[in-house]
Structure formats: C-alpha cells, structure tokens
Symmetry: C2
Amino acid sequence: MQVTVIGAGNMGRGIGHRLVAGGHEVTIVDRDPQEAGWLAKELRAAAQGGATVEAAGPTSELRGEVVVFAVYYQGALELARELGDRLAGKVVVDISNPLNQTFDALATQPGTSAAEEVAATVPTGTRVVKAFNTTFSGTLVEGQVAGQPLDVLIAGDDKEAKEMVAKLVRDGDLQAIDVGPLERARELEGLGFLGITLQQPLGLNFQSTWKLAS
Amino acid sequence: MQVTVIGAGNMGRGIGHRLVAGGHEVTIVDRDPQEAGWLAKELRAAAQGGATVEAAGPTSELRGEVVVFAVYYQGALELARELGDRLAGKVVVDISNPLNQTFDALATQPGTSAAEEVAATVPTGTRVVKAFNTTFSGTLVEGQVAGQPLDVLIAGDDKEAKEMVAKLVRDGDLQAIDVGPLERARELEGLGFLGITLQQPLGLNFQSTWKLAS
C-alpha cells in the first residue's frame, strides 16, 4: 500500500519502521527536507518485503490513499486546514494525544476528541481514523514490549478505512483492535494521556504499552 | 487486613476471591442475607493463609478499615448517602463503571467521574480509592488472563489509602498500579467503558483485561 507519513519526528520514525517491516511504499514528508531525508535513509535500510521509502517536501503531491499525521495535536489541526482539498478521498490517520501545555490534562473540551476535531476540519469525503496514540515511538521501532506485539487501538466511522489501517498494523506484526466509531477516540485519548502520566512516576521511560489481554 | 465487601454479586465474588487468596478477614454484606451467606460459604471454601469470611446484614457494623462498594454506579452513590457517618475514617473502594442505560456512553458529566461523585458524597475524612473497574468478575476469580496476572489500576488522593488497597491487590497475586490522583478515575472509567464496549464485537465474553505492559 502507498502511505504518506507527514512528520519525520519520533512517531513518524516509529510508524515508519512498522510500515517498512510490512513491505509498504512509504513517503516521508517534513517541513525540514533534511529531516525527511534522514528518516527515509534509516527506513530504507530497514526495509523488508519490497518496501520502498522516499522523502518529499511539504508541497509535493500526497502519494497513496493513507496519510498519517505523525505530528502533535495542534499540528494535526493545522495540517487538516492547510492541506485542505489535497486530503479529499484520503484516509487520514490521527495519532495525537491532545495534552495541555503542562501535560497534566487533555487540552480538548469534554465530549469531543482531537480525532473528531480533525475529522471536522478535513474536506468532506476524507475519512479520519484514530490509531497509534497509545503506542510510543521506541516501542513501535521494536514492534513489541516485553516480547509481546503492541496492540494498536483503532477508532473510526468508516469500516473500509479502518480495515486499511488494520492491514498496515498487522503487516507490521502488530495487533490491530477495532474499538468502534471515531467518538471512541475520546477514550483512546484518555488512555494515551493516562499512559503518558505514568511514565515518570513508574520509571517506564516510554517503553510501556497498553494491551487488551484475552 | 479486615475488609468489608458490600454487594454479593459478580464483582463482590471476584474481589472476594482475591481477598481470601491473600489471607484477609472478609465480611460480605448484602441486602439479601441469603446472597451474602452463599458467597461467604463459597469464599470460605477458597480461603488461604488464614483468611476468614463472614456474612452480615446491611445494618451491621462495618468491620475493618477498607470498605469495597461492589455495586453499580447508582448503588455506590446510594451507599455513600445511606451509610453516611458509618463510613467516617474508612477507605472506600469505588469499582463502578458509570454506564448509561443503553450501555453506549458514560452516564457521568464530562469533567468528573463516579469516583469523584462518591468522594463528594461520603463524610469528611473518608478516603475514596478507585480500583478494580477495568477487571471483570470472572477474571478476578481466576486472578489472571492468558497466564498473566491482572493489572489493578488504582487512583486516589490519599497515598496511605491507595497503599492499603495496593497491598490487598498484591496479596491476591495481582499487579497494583498507582495511576495518580482520584481525578484519574475519569480516564479509568473511560477505559472500563471501552473494555465493556469491546466484549460483544470481539467475542471476549468478559474474559479480557487491560494491561500496562512494560
């Protein structure tokens, strides 16, 4: 599958590693072309199963049906606004955890979520899927925590869009769990926030992950 | 430790099994004395390490420092009101998942939680701890899911009270995780809700549990 990842930071790196482990055609986009180039080079070296990796600038065409917003909350809303019609028909993956500036609460209003805000901003026909917000970058690079594959919790209102994201997840040797409609992003973002708050007190160093054991 | 469990239903049974596995002195209270008696008998048969089990009626003295409200959300608020001063000085464990009548949303207002509502209702000096709302009754009876001990996520504003609950959890061979102040019950109740919504679509039959893998 062709996938564009916007953001060559930690999360773009983590998700990029899973995508190239799954043999996909990945384009890394960043405002800083050097950052995009470095990450593309790293991912190319890790590519398996025919995966390809390109770097591209922020004004280039968005390749593929799936576009991952691998940026922070405010950046995701900005991308949704700035890219506008270029997103039409795409599946947009929002991974954000909308923390406030002091990291001790969510910045979103009660009764909504970052993902729903992104969905309200993109053009009609763009399908927004929430995923990867309860997995940290380092654990995505490894693909597992304590020998167990990461669970990627996926919320969205379009079944086909969710299944595309689930396939990317499974191809990267992770577990995909469909948690329901996009409004379930409220609980996912609560869970992401909870996980972040525990890192320092429990000394987890962002090496933890939430799993639904069964 | 002396612990009173109010409610001889599924969750009282699950938590009761962990308490008697840990060698504690358990009193089961229910409005229906026969229900309390049956559960006490079952737990007595499972008792280890000197654990004792008694059944008691709803008007009897509340034994011990820890009182578990093993009831539904509305019942927890009623207990907090009805027991009133009898709870003074106790550690109250709220386990509830405040679902609405159609089980498709939380019944609490945004920006609060069942645990915080219980805390606002009990007398001054009663310390409320949120715990056990992300673990299902059957998994508590077993103490594990897929060979892994359950994680019990604990929120509260009083460190000593949380540590008492954490000791009960550990004595029952479960993992205790302190997730912070009582307001984190908002995220825990979101997580409990999320887990409940997944049972039917994923065919989990209430045999799943949330784990913080690390």
